[in-house]
Symmetry: none
Subunit: 273 residues, 2 copies
DNA sequence: ATCAAAATGGAATATTTATTCCATAGCCCG
DNA sequence: CGGGCTATGGAATAAATATTCCATTTTGAT
């Protein structure tokens, strides 16, 4: 690094500006530093070089270089800026949440608080209610399958499509049945494959039909649904039940996605990824 | 120091209680420490022993004794309490992921716990970092639009598709640009419409291109992204920044979906739904 | 493909910071 | 007024932390 920035930023705002100006002009490791620092500016004051470096997933020396590029003499110099400006705002989650809710039920911020709360509740009850045995069984079935078929429509479609993305990233053969063009790919279901079906009440008839079909052909069916005794769970070889908390007519999907992701990553690593 | 307090305070509130309980029962120098600390509790996280001691006008060793009387093993121990209260535990997911891989490829239940935790952290930091003004602006822009165009690919596609579902339920005219068949519907962008674009690093070129296009045609562009200075944020009339916590290569999307949902519902009700 | 320049990671070192220890000073109770 | 106790300050040591340096790898240009 030859072109120096000889004067360090004097305020936090200046710091942010300089960071933004730098974006995309940095080599890989330093870009990682920049990204992490931009997202965690408020931790600078209370962290060590080693901690921040670990967070950004770079060696400490990379972070040092990063500080110098910004014009500081070193990390301590940069940290001083943030320590002096330190004001411990409301670090408290519940206080902040109350503030968001206060002042008008219709305001976007109040809505956001509701959805955040719903998501948190879902996640909490997921850890309590998850059936580990069923999860292990589901991982086993999918890990042993030739191709994994994914189906989920309407509300469940985001989940199914995220799974398709994750499986692709992990190079696990998976096919998303998305119903585009009203084609149905049921003849793609071949012996040795498995179906991962996702649907919540009111259950999509298309999803149930495909699950039924798969079952009749002898494929393993893994269900991700909201009711242990529901129509999809009854068809499945392994049923994962998610207690999603609704807010109004909408569900946050937090718990569903967390479970789906855990399932996918477990399957991916079981297949030797 | 006769009466020991063998267990350190576990929370900031507990700390304050103990401090209050101690008041007036201390020798002179330690009382000075207590007074100064009580008045400057929030500087503990960002100061050194020497700085605080100087502030309280006592030698450093007096401050050390003070920490021990409160039940801590030393100053560092006390400081940790305040540093963690601000940003609870460094998520340090890259390390944890490595550990998981090392320690038996991750039992599914352990993976699930990680994803749940990541989701929880994301939601918490969303409440802390959300920009209410930007959110209000975004709602205004989308509520006033003729048609809302949605774009989000790869990781962001689940979010975009969920938004499409929610808008449809609320009878808000919205069009999902999903790239099926490599068609692009850029000519569907008409004056008076707005674009809601979603992308995270590494940014999808297609999404950026569409956002650029929309901007050039004078449409309002609302961004949902992960970096305030990122390429999408720079194009947008209103940028919503989501601090999603990654776990390995995967993100839980909890915070993103919560924010998207709040946005959608606010828009829906602003349009008189 | 080859070379020069740039970037990187890790180990060695320097610096700062926390902590302990103990000789001395101050206090209280007789 | 003295003896026993506690509190105190500062110097010595230990620990954590930042910083530099350089051998190696990667990148980019030709």
């Amino acid at each position: 690094m030859d072109v120096k920035t000889p004067t360090p930023p004097a305020t936090v705002d200046e710091f942010r500006d300089r960071l933004a100006a730098l974006a995309d002009s940095l080599p890989r490791r330093l870009q990682q530093c920049a990204d992490f620092i931009a997202a965690n500016t408020d931790r600078i004051a209370v962290s060590t070089v080693a901690e921040l470096a670990a967070g950004a997933d770079v060696p400490p020396s990379a972070l040092m270089r990063f500080c110098q590029i910004l014009g500081f003499s070193g990390f301590s110099d940069m940290q001083r800026l943030f320590r002096e400006a330190w004001s411990p705002g409301p670090p408290d989650y519940s206080t902040r949440l109350r503030n968001l809710k206060a002042g008008g039920a219709g305001r976007p911020a109040a809505l956001l608080a509701e959805f955040v709360e719903a998501g948190r509740l879902s996640l909490e009850s997921l850890t309590k209610s998850v059936d580990e045995a069923a999860l292990d069984r589901a991982v086993g079935l999918l890990a042993g399958a030739g191709m994994i078929h994914l189906v989920g429509l309407r509300r469940a479609f985001p989940v199914a499509s995220y799974l398709a993305y994750v499986f692709e990233k992990m190079q696990v053969p998976a096919l998303l049945h998305d119903g585009v063009g009203k084609l149905d790919h049921r003849f793609a279901l071949r012996p040795g494959d498995a179906l991962l079906a996702i649907t919540f009440a009111p259950y999509s008839p298309e999803t149930l039909a495909l699950a039924q079909d798969a079952r009749e052909r002898g494929l393993a069916v893994v269900a991700l649904t909201d009711q242990a005794g529901g129509p999809l769970a009854r068809l499945a070889s392994a049923a994962l039940v998610v207690p999603e908390v609704d807010f109004g007519a909408f569900r946050s999907l937090s718990a569903t996605i967390a479970l789906a992701l855990a399932l996918a990553v477990a399957v991916g690593s079981a297949r030797g990824g």
